[in-house]
Symmetry: C2
Subunit: 426 residues, 2 copies
């Protein structure tokens, strides 16, 4: 078994990197390639087509499934830890109110839309009275919520618009959006996991945050001291990883909350020490060299997909709800905060992109067994959502900022026209 895993890892690393590079060439995020790699090398599609010999990696059959699961779990924990580390608390405070509003709307509008539309596929809105159906529909909705900061940041940077007011607000909203999405996921999953006592779950969630932040303050101070004294020493990222693992473990075992929530909060606890970026870099290298390729591939490796009309229809509706929900929710709320029409639309489109966090949530929901025996499988729809939104978001942003620049130049030109001055060079 331990030898077989070496071959499987070699194939997974090669396939995810090769397809990731192709995806990037096509203007898509690399994760799309990595997930498709898992679908292509694993038993997801080939057996259904009678092409069993195309299956290169079959963890269930060759006994490496547990090892793959553990590596994938460490991978997902590292991804969320890294996301937490990259949080900029100061910026978050400055743009706080508007960003929080936009994030909240960006979570709840897609959540409600996703829940309602999914219920239509499961027998109608009235079926939501059945707790099991409700949980399934809510989980589909939650997958729609998490914006990917990465794609939006890259697009805004490229256009030189990251440091505009709306740019910073979108960035903060995308981060807050992750926190809210993960909290909602934790609550729904822990309700689905047996007890079903909403009050108790909410209490444990609050308790977790109280403990995590209460312990986080002395840990943060300790790391500030440590990274003064042992700047850029190996022990700093190792101790960081220890905090991450402990938070993830405690979240799940002691509070019944998803371990990824713990890892994310651990990242936030360490997001403003001197060596934050050093820790993040080391975690990043561990992540991209092995753990996150295994995680993304494992999604494809552990599902089996049969594509028919109803699956495709659901995937399309899912992606559409994800797009409409975000744009309408975020743009609507930005308008409430007195952004003009273009800026409000920028907020909506900027929050559109989905990426690895959607996959993390999808995977979490699947491995919690929410969709066991259901006619719905959110894997394919999630991939479609990521592909469409990560193409639409940068294109939309470019168009909107182009329009905005033109309008502003026009206004300035108009001003100069009135006072008889030459027009501004562009």
């Amino acid at each position: 078994m331990t030898t077989q895993i070496l071959l499987n890892l070699a194939i997974i690393l090669f396939a995810t990197k090769a397809l990731g590079m192709i995806a990037r060439r096509l203007g898509l995020p690399q994760v799309v390639g990595a997930v498709l790699a898992g679908l292509l090398i694993g038993p997801a599609i080939w057996p259904g087509l009678g092409l069993d010999f195309m299956v290169l990696v079959n963890p269930l059959a060759d006994g490496t499934i547990d090892a793959i699961k553990v590596l994938a779990e460490i991978g997902v924990v590292m991804i969320l830890f890294s996301a937490g580390l990259e949080t900029d608390l100061k910026e978050l405070k400055r743009t706080g109110a508007a960003a929080t509003g936009i994030a909240l709307a960006g979570v709840f509008v897609p959540l409600v839309l996703g829940t309602v539309v999914t219920s239509l596929f499961l027998g109608g809105v009235s079926m939501l009275a059945d707790p099991e159906v409700l949980i399934q529909c809510l989980c589909v909705g939650i997958i729609l919520t998490a914006t990917s900061v990465g794609i939006t940041v890259e697009a805004l940077k490229e256009m030189g618009k990251l440091n505009t007011k709306i740019g910073q607000t979108v960035l903060s909203a995308a981060i807050i959006d992750d926190v809210i999405g993960i909290v909602v996921l934790s609550v729904v999953l822990s309700i689905s996991g047996g007890g079903a006592d909403v009050g108790h779950t909410l209490l444990m969630t609050v308790l977790f945050f109280v403990c995590a932040i209460g312990l986080g303050i002395p840990i943060n101070m300790l790391f500030k001291k440590l990274s003064q004294k042992y700047d850029h020493k190996r022990r700093i990222p190792i101790f960081g990883l220890i905090v991450c693992f402990l938070y993830a473990f405690c979240a799940e075992r002691l509070f019944g909350i998803a371990d990824i929530t713990g890892a994310y909060i651990a990242g936030i606890v360490l997001c403003n020490v001197k060596d934050t970026s050093y820790i993040d870099r080391k975690i990043g290298i561990n992540s991209y060299m092995l753990f996150s390729p295994v995680f993304f591939a494992s999604i494809g490796l552990t599902t089996s997909i049969t594509i028919d009309a109803s699956v495709l229809l659901f995937a399309l509706c899912f992606a559409l709800m994800g797009i409409i929900g975000k744009v309408v929710g975020c743009a609507g709320l930005a308008k409430c905060f007195k952004f003009d029409n273009t800026d409000s639309l920028i907020a909506g489109v900027g929050m559109l992109a989905r990426g690895e966090v959607a996959l993390v949530v999808c995977n979490k929901v699947l491995s919690a067994g929410v969709f066991e025996g259901s006619i719905i499988d959110p894997t394919l729809p999630t991939i479609l959502l990521i592909v469409t939104t990560s193409l639409l978001a940068p294109i939309g942003l470019k168009l909107l900022f182009g329009k905005k620049d033109k309008m502003e130049n026009g206004r300035i030109q108009g001003m100069y026209d009135r006072v008889g001055q030459p027009p501004l060079d562009k």
Copy 2:
């Protein structure tokens, strides 16, 4: 299970790092601390003393043993891959003849001594006629063979003697020594693994090296091209790791040779491309952040030790044979290559230090089941050997180089005395 592993990893990382730092303060290599950490946090010693509550990590009991084994295996493969990457082929060629001679003597003298002395503990030299006893004794001998390059290099660097003729010869010999040791291990293990046909095993070993080098040349050329074109891109170390995993897998599955041999040869295949040190750095970060602490701790976590007089006596004899065998073998052969007495002794003492490779071999032998049901367990003796030799080697080198410098200064002084010049400043 996947949550429990997070807690276990956090404890392992903390204990190995903390004890590793203490070991380094005491002038010992960090691996000694890491192995002791595994013994202290695991079920190796406490249950025997009735102190079960001291066991912090118990992989066999909590179901994480398979995950730990896989992570440890990846760790060991990375350690050997890295050792291969750090090989300097040019230097190896230059100092080739003398270094190969010293390495050969440094392998075979301890191997024979270890085999003979171990047989005394198993009923006398005549017992070597029993194949099972012979394999056990040979395996003990093999653990004694592998010199640790790291400690010697560090000591030589500190004294500014790495670039002397004897310094370079010792360095090359330590590398060749690893190759020979690993080949001998492969042969013995594959004989013990069933077939017991020495001819077939040797043939497969030769075939492996032919294929590994035959394929290695085009792979090396490919990487030279790749690292010209994609200098310092993530894909380079990822592709490197893929080659490493494939070599390790093929060595074990296709040729019946230890996977670590494959990983080591993969490292040598990539040891002279433009991005070698870049690959090595990325592998190193993955290794020290997670995989190698788990590997070193796993040795302690998976043994149970009962210390009595005979165990201690064996451990002492084992360490003594390791010390005498290396010094006598290497110094003796250096003398044959016309090094003077002091330089010959420097060769012997320089080859003395043992480190992670001894642990790798010990672990490999244990997991192959060679010592199942035997009264001998090489874990504790190996740790004792590492502790004593890694203290003795730097001290001995310092004394010998001090003596040599004094002698040379004396000689120069004498020359100047004869021609009436002032003495050389030191």
